[in-house]
Assembly symmetry: C2
Homo-oligomer: 334 residues x 2
């Protein structure tokens, strides 16, 4: 900037004014300065600007695995919303490790990101001293953290599971089992509990059949086989997330059993499998958007108490929720 100033025979301040389109520069001065800027290819150093202004115009997103479609969709939404608001997005992965998450968060705080959107790895208390001391606004997504209330965006796990069970029941299923993911995950436990309580509330017969992950391929095959061979067989399963849905589909294919199925999380091609798979859809795009909205409210000075937003889920009805006997025989159409 100093170079430009010298070349254009003005002070740095004037150059600064031109660069930032501040008013109060004579037209011809501005043109002269712009000319020099273009000629020598000057580009403002945002680092210095940031240092002076205290705002980095940057937010960060911390997730478990950027390649997981659920998170990458959240990421895409967060990036878009950030870009609209002239902010850049740093993405970081903690790979599910609370330790690594702490390191990552410290790094981001050191960079003075303006705000954080975090899918918390563990359920450590929200009062991570590093973060809270920095005063950086933070919005948790997908799962809450323990301790004092924090801004959080989660999806309606209980509602989602309820819609799944009710759908199956409406189609005549009575013996319904639940295949959850690893019970270490909050969402997995939430969905399990929802399943159990709805199962009981509806007075469905028999014990509640619940198995949590991680599911090896063999376990799953054996389990499904056993359920299918019971005296009054299980006729439908609900799977706790996309990972489990895929595993269950593979296992069913392998065992050769055909059960009713409602999966948690929509997935590409759910409609091309036979029978097409009915799912509980949670919309990652809306979740990401909502989180950014919340975050920027804080950045703009919103001081209201921490808020937990529960995003609704939507049941996408396809064929797999029907009772097996009601399915048309395959290749019905000539």
């Amino acid at each position: 900037m100093a170079d430009v100033a010298e070349e254009a025979h003005v002070s740095v301040k004037t150059v600064s004014r031109v660069v930032n389109r501040e008013p109060g520069v004579r037209r011809d001065t501005e043109l002269r300065v712009r000319g020099v800027i273009d000629r020598i290819g000057f580009m403002r150093h945002d680092g210095a600007r940031i240092l002076r202004q205290g705002r980095t115009q940057t937010i960060a997103l911390v997730v478990e695995d950027l390649a997981n479609p659920f998170y990458s969709q959240i990421g895409a939404a967060v990036e878009r919303e950030a870009r609209i608001r002239q902010h850049q997005l740093i993405t970081a992965s903690a790979e599910g490790s609370p330790t690594r998450e702490r390191v990552v968060l410290e790094g981001l705080i050191n960079r003075r990101v303006d705000g954080l959107v975090v899918v918390p790895a563990g359920e450590r208390p929200a009062t991570d001293p590093t973060v809270s001391a920095s005063g950086t606004p933070i919005v948790y997504v997908d799962r809450p953290v323990r301790g004092e209330p924090c801004d959080t965006v989660i999806s309606d796990n209980a509602g989602g599971v309820r819609s799944a069970v009710e759908h199956l029941v409406a189609h005549g299923h009575r013996r319904i089992a639940f295949l959850g993911d690893n019970a270490e995950f909050w969402t997995a436990r939430q969905r399990r509990e929802a399943f159990v309580s709805i199962h009981d509330a509806l007075g469905l017969p028999g014990d509640t059949r619940v198995v949590m992950g991680p599911h090896s391929s063999e376990d799953l095959v054996e389990r499904l086989g056993a359920w299918a061979r019971e005296r009054t067989p299980v006729t439908a399963v609900i799977t706790g997330n996309n990972r489990v849905t895929l595993a269950a589909l593979h296992a069913m294919r392998q065992v050769g059993v055909q059960m009713g199925l409602v999966g948690y999380d929509d997935f590409e091609l759910a409609d091309l499998i036979e029978p097409s798979v009915t799912v509980v859809h949670q919309d990652p795009t809306s979740i990401g958007q909502k989180a950014v909205l919340q975050l920027f409210a804080r950045l703009l000075g919103d001081e209201s108490p921490a808020q937990t937003v529960v995003m609704p889920t939507r049941l996408i009805v396809r064929e797999s929720g029907r009772l097996l006997s009601s399915l048309p025989p395959r290749k019905a159409k000539p």
Copy 2:
């Protein structure tokens, strides 16, 4: 840092030394300083450090759509490699628009990112004045740019298509058609050209049947129907990327025709569809890794001429490449 210095009765420089683990600080001094740091919760301001040192320890990834699994997998790989090297990753989406891409790139240059990994939106000459003037190392991914040679990582489009055609031919297919994506995309054109030349080289009968996107659902249904009704019907299609594969699968389902199929890009569940889908797999993780490797070589001073790396593809053989008549009738197993 000044606060810490005062509190610990040392100079800022000593604090700096402690924070950066520089040698030459007496043990007890260090302990005293660390004590103060912990007590008052000091955190280094990386913005200032960056300003002073000139390195941001940040690289950026610019893609078209972060939600596209192909790019998000690249993103995950790039982030991991960056993290390993103590760098942070800014992700940005240009949404396929060259104009927006330019704005995005300028923003990143202003931030003085150390390096760029870019999936170029247009095919504008590589010598984007903004970027090249800044001297920021840049690696292009997935498609090259025109103009003087640049570091580029692409996948072996011709090889992938060849493996697809050869596989189909080996299974007895002779009338093979190609459904490409929008010919505006470089990769789409590459694959089309590869198809045409291999089709000719193998002396396959008839004109080469090639249709490029975008494909509306209706067009596709009509097209497939027409191919199937020809006097000597098309028995197999090759699809130019995952988008087209999905569209083609839907269309086939809708028309009720069953053709041989080899898709470009692997996708989840390719093995659960019936028949399971044979695909040409390009490994986004390796592509991302390779790009970062290349980038950091430049960052470390590698001055060798620009290099284009062609990553191999792999044919994942499933069922859909077989000749229709050789497929076992459905429900063969009781």
